[in-house]
Amino acid sequence: MSGLGLVLDIAKTALSTQRYGIDVTGHNIANVNNPSYSRQSPVIEAKEAVSYGGVLLGRGVETTNVVRATDQFIESQLSEQKSNEVAFQEMERYMQILEGFLNENSETSISVLLSDFWNLWHDISNNPAGSAERVAIWEHSALLAERFNSLEADLIQMKTDLTGAVSFGVGRINEITEEIAYLNTQIVAIETSTTANDLRDKRTALVSELSEYIDVKSFEQSNGSLTIITARGCVLVQGNEAYNLEMGGTNGDRVTWRSSGNAIVDITDYLANGKLGGWLTMRDEVIAKCELDLNALAKEFIWAVNYQHSQGVGLKLFEPDTTLTGTYKTSMDLDALEFGSEIQYIADGFKLWIEDRTDPANPVINAVSVDLSGLDGSSSLADVATAINNQIAAAGLAGVTASVSGDAIGFTAGSDYAFGFSDDNSNMLAALGVNTFFQGASAGTMELNPTLSNKDYIAAATIEADGSYASGDNTNALAITDLQYESNQISQWTCDRVNGNTESTITATFEHYYHGLVGAMGIISSSISRSREFNEVMVNELSQIRDSISAVSLDEEMTNLMEFQHAYEAAAKLIAVADEMLDELLSVK
């Protein structure tokens, strides 16, 4: 067919195509600041020509499709990088809180309290009989123990908060994956005929949000649906199916994945990116190390002070008619005591001094040298008590009885008897918590031995070989001050979620060990901040590349608008011309 009808027809296709173009431009302009939007453009093609009288005549124009400008590779690079960035952002945020806990710019920081602890022992050694010095060390040590307790409590609270955050994240992940699965269904249905541009943008946005929570790898199937997998190859979305994550494990703090066959896979340690990766790294590596190291320090510190303290004697012996109870308990064997592994089962164990005050004017003091060679790690507390009682009897002495009550050992003095200890080569007394300074064996459980609420029992002195002891004797206090200069073997942890935690030993004074721990946290913190900055720059650059491909430029759209507008005007003119021509024809008489 040829003639004026064809011209009108061509003009009509032109008008509708240009108007369509203006629609698409309008859509682009409207989405100029939608971050997940990919700019669209109409695909304009000449309509198939028809052959007329041996000549091919064009039939105008048509819009065959509207496509979005997008680069799948850049998109996935970007979401991977974002996933990294978010992990470091979250770590940095929590690290700032942790740095606050370890704040060293205060008079109550652990390192200041530790220095003061030694200084106060110096003060006692300068005036062993002084009651002010005794009250000072008692109060101060309580404060030190409290700081250890509260730091440990803060770390535990932070871990609980992080687990809560992870659990919230898992909830959000499940919502997102459900939504993606639903979009997959829709996209597959629509794309049998056309491209589902806006739905794809929406899906890209969801994948990007998902990658802010968790490690994500995604690839598109030929039918347009998107498959998403996370750590350990666990599938989160496939076609129209979403597989949920759950909080599992005995404490409900592990992230698990459930397969279609109901198999449960623990993926916690393999999540490295996104908020979950950041939170879990903080919880299971950074805070875990801080806590393990802090506890290692507390344990060695408590042991060293207790060991030395148990060698000494206070201003007086343990009084008649009282029971001295050990602070470390076991209902099983001695190996099960907190410090059970320290005990040496040797003949020359320790000396138990018993002072007979039957004649108050002339007290008589004698020692039982307790032989522990008959015992071993599988002995019970009752065995220890029996051994001690037998040896008291064998030495022809009386007045003090060892017994077990409430899983702890106790020494009870009769009404005219007092007792004390010295020369413990076996570590037995410190391991039982008898005549010790602290109780507990970790940062969280560290406390003063309640026996010391009577400050006369702070052991600055030593019972001499002849049984004498003097209130002005400061030998044991001096030995305790020496602990500050001594290097100890203290465990140091490296926490790695995938390869497990490893323990090594470093040699350091208590203070230097703590300074090292604070420094290590600072190093972790600064490296996290640097990684965050680096990733931020990477994300920024990738975003620019992505936006240079996909985002809308208003200048460009305004130009397009002009272009379509002028073409529309021209097409309208074409109709006017055809109209005039028709008029011309119809007016022929």
Binding site: N127, G472, E511, H515, G519, S525, S550, S553
Partner: protein, 288 residues
Amino acid sequence: MRVASKTVYDAARFNLASIQEQFYRANQVVATGKRITALSDDPVGLTQSLHVKSALSNLEQLGHNISMGKSWLTASESALSQAQDIISDARALCVQMVSGTIDLSQQAPAATIVQNHIDEIVSLGNTEINGQYVFAGWKTDTVPFGQDGTYHGDNHAFTIKIGNDTTIEIGADGEAIFQDLFTTLSDLKDALEGNDVEGIRAAMTNLDIDLDRITTKISDIGSKVLRMETNEQIFQEVTISSTQRLSEIEEADMAAAIIDLESREVVYKAALASSARIMQLSLVDFLS
């Protein structure tokens, strides 16, 4: 590269934020005067500064110990030099008494003088510093000498710490110092009362021995004071250099910090100006 409208705004946001962060940090350094305000600012420096701080705290404590030790030794020294004077007086008295020109009736008052000397020595032996008896061995809270010169202390010497691995005896076993002197003086008193010239002569010899012992003890104290002063001096020097080191680690170099702050300010202002300009431009404004 094609620049999308969003890129212009994103870039402004990103650049301004990161420049502002640096500007804020530079300001923080100037405002606090400290290089290190958080652990992560300089973890290595921080660890060193903690080491230095604990060493300083220890030095301060050792300084306390030394000044306490010095006050003990000063008190001992003054007690012992008074004892020296008393011995000299007693010796002079003996010389007088054996010269033969002295009337017998004068010997009774001389015995009284010796008794006074004994009392003085008792009170010297009971010298105390802040309630602690210097010559009681470890029994620092027990009065070491009874009125008759019996010793209630023990045979140790009170010791304190004046260095990480140095201890020093600042107290003394009073028995070793004064017991023989008491015996000598009471023998002398007996001799005077019994008009025993030989006894007085023997006491003279013993007084010489006592004087010798106490003089040796005084010079021993002198050398201890010297040791303490040497340590004190060393500690003071170390304290000064450590404090200096601490401020090098922790404190900001103000001139550099202010220059840094100013250069960040210039960058920040430039970024603000250029962002403001590029954000204003759009083709929309030029179409009518």
